[in-house]
Symmetry: C2
Subunit: 333 residues, 2 copies
């Protein structure tokens, strides 16, 4: 295992110490570093919280900040935070306007977030939930509720965060989050495994000339393993599945996220985007907003995902709004 590590048992806690040291605009509650909240709460605003396993930076806690989220609870590597941790975050970020949970569709997270919402309800805090399920590869059309949440949740955070910053109500912020969720699709491809620090070896093995299309961000099996193809062919196959999901018409606008899974250089991500742009152009669809970089990783996994958000006027406005978090900054566009 080739990592910068001390005792693997302390991986998450030492990472969190580093994050709090580097980013003073973040703090934590309940004397638990895994219960992160913004140090600059906004009175009266709907609170937005997320959470999930560690090992996916910038997910989840990297989006806590202006114009995005108010709090995040994180667990061990690839492990859900507890209901108690989510509840502590919820109590702290509620400003009287209620709290929206936005998180990915994983059974451990769902159980704990549901329980946290119940605990908050006993305190009179109104909680609503939107569960990200953008990963096209993880279930067929008609069974979207079985799909995993992956990098496309970034668009849900961005739209809902901007809506909350505009002062919209919990119902409105939830409506917008749900719309962004329902119009986002992601396809991923992995070239190598990650290594969970406490385990110390690769989560799965994959041949030196192989790729796995549709693999999840914890190494969940994808839909096909085959010989690594030229970049354009990989994108053609991924985008064909994304195009089949929504009625993208000539003249439509989309936002595109090209996400590196951790070990893939930025140069390659731009080579992938080049082909995405060609395919969108060919359909007369405009990539109005484009982000390329690492947004939801799997530690050192080599690979990438493409997320497409089918914009409407409202989502266009909200995605363009400024945001300032430790891991994601955007000037009004």
């Amino acid at each position: 295992m080739k990592k910068f590590l001390n005792d693997p048992v302390n991986f998450v806690d030492e990472m969190l110490e580093g994050i709090y040291g580097a980013h003073r605009e973040l703090t934590y509650v309940a004397d638990d570093k895994r219960c992160m909240v913004t140090a600059k709460p906004k009175a009266g605003k709907v609170g937005i919280a997320t959470g999930g396993g560690s090992g996916h930076l910038p997910l989840f806690l990297g989006y806590v900040g202006d114009g995005m989220l108010d709090g995040a609870a994180v667990g061990g590597v690839f492990q859900s935070p507890s209901a108690e941790q989510m509840y502590q975050v919820t109590k702290h970020i509620d400003q009287g306007a209620g709290v929206l949970y936005i998180y990915g569709n994983y059974s451990g997270d769902i159980i704990n977030f549901d329980m946290a919402a119940e605990l908050a309800d006993l305190d009179g805090i109104q909680v609503k939930q939107v569960v990200g399920n953008d990963d096209v590869a993880s279930s067929v059309v008609g069974e979207e509720h079985k799909r995993r949440g992956v990098a496309g949740i970034f668009f849900v955070y961005k739209a809902a965060g901007a809506a909350a910053a505009e002062g919209l109500s919990l119902d409105e912020v939830m409506r917008i989050a749900d719309k962004a969720r329902s119009r986002t699709r992601t396809m991923g491809v992995a070239l190598s495994s990650c290594v969970v620090p406490e385990i110390g070896h690769a989560t799965f093995s994959i041949g030196e000339d192989e790729m796995e299309i549709g693999m999840g961000i914890h190494g969940e099996p994808g839909i096909s393993r085959k010989k690594l193809a030229p970049a354009d062919q990989v994108i053609d196959e991924m985008m064909e599945r994304i195009f089949a999901e929504q009625d993208y018409k000539q003249g439509n606008d989309v936002a595109v996220l090209v996400n590196g899974l951790g070990g893939t250089p930025m140069e390659e991500l731009y080579i992938l985007f080049r082909r995405v742009a060609q395919l969108l152009d060919a359909r007369g669809v405009k990539a109005k907003h484009v982000w390329v970089g690492e947004f939801a990783t799997s530690m050192e996994m080599a690979g990438a995902s493409i997320s497409v958000l089918h914009l409407d006027e409202e989502l266009d406005r909200l995605v363009s709004a400024p945001a300032n978090t430790p891991f994601f900054k955007h000037f009004a566009s």
Copy 2:
């Protein structure tokens, strides 16, 4: 070779197509995508240009934008751009106030930038140069002029870019760039090699349990190869060399850049920063500005570097100023 690629010969040009497609605020001159300039020039401002080999994103062209640079010429992977390319960028970004070149201390770059400056001089464009040499490991104290430029050049761009944005003269911008250069030190450590696409195999080999301290960002030999140590020990060794370079007194402020070389996950970079912060604290030195992420990479190389800028009041002000480039955004702090 496990990369998202089409024909390796087109690696740089396809990457550039992707970058121009994603970032409309960038454009190019001389009908050559490798001659990048900002699409939003500011009348009367001192122009700042950089350049160097491809394969280091966000270096070099990723810092072209508001509050940073006005242009960049890039060569093939790890190859200098030509004098003609640098000259074309220079001609375009000169707004009558002259142009400052800021680039790293590599012989190919020096030859080509010198020649570009001579060509510009024939056109009556005043050009000055600051050559980054922050890499402590590449030569001893007293022979700093032999040192390579690595990730610490980010601080030189940031300070000089803010100075030019304030409307300072070429002499002043150069003075500030040179001050930032002279007060910046970097130490790096590599865990794995990169693969140059057209070559197709690792640039160097390194054992599964080894690290190389002081390795350059093209795989230049470092100062010691040894068994991979716990993260804190690695940082202790690196910071000891940085501390020995400048007179950091109790109460001094520094800016810290923890830079991933490409393949190292962000989680590990924060574990490294945690220890840097502890060592600074122990000396009563404050990490007033901290950036953690990928700033100067070597494609998929696993490894990291630590850069420390010894602040004074002027550098503090300039480093805090806003910047908005495709790869680096900073709200006024």
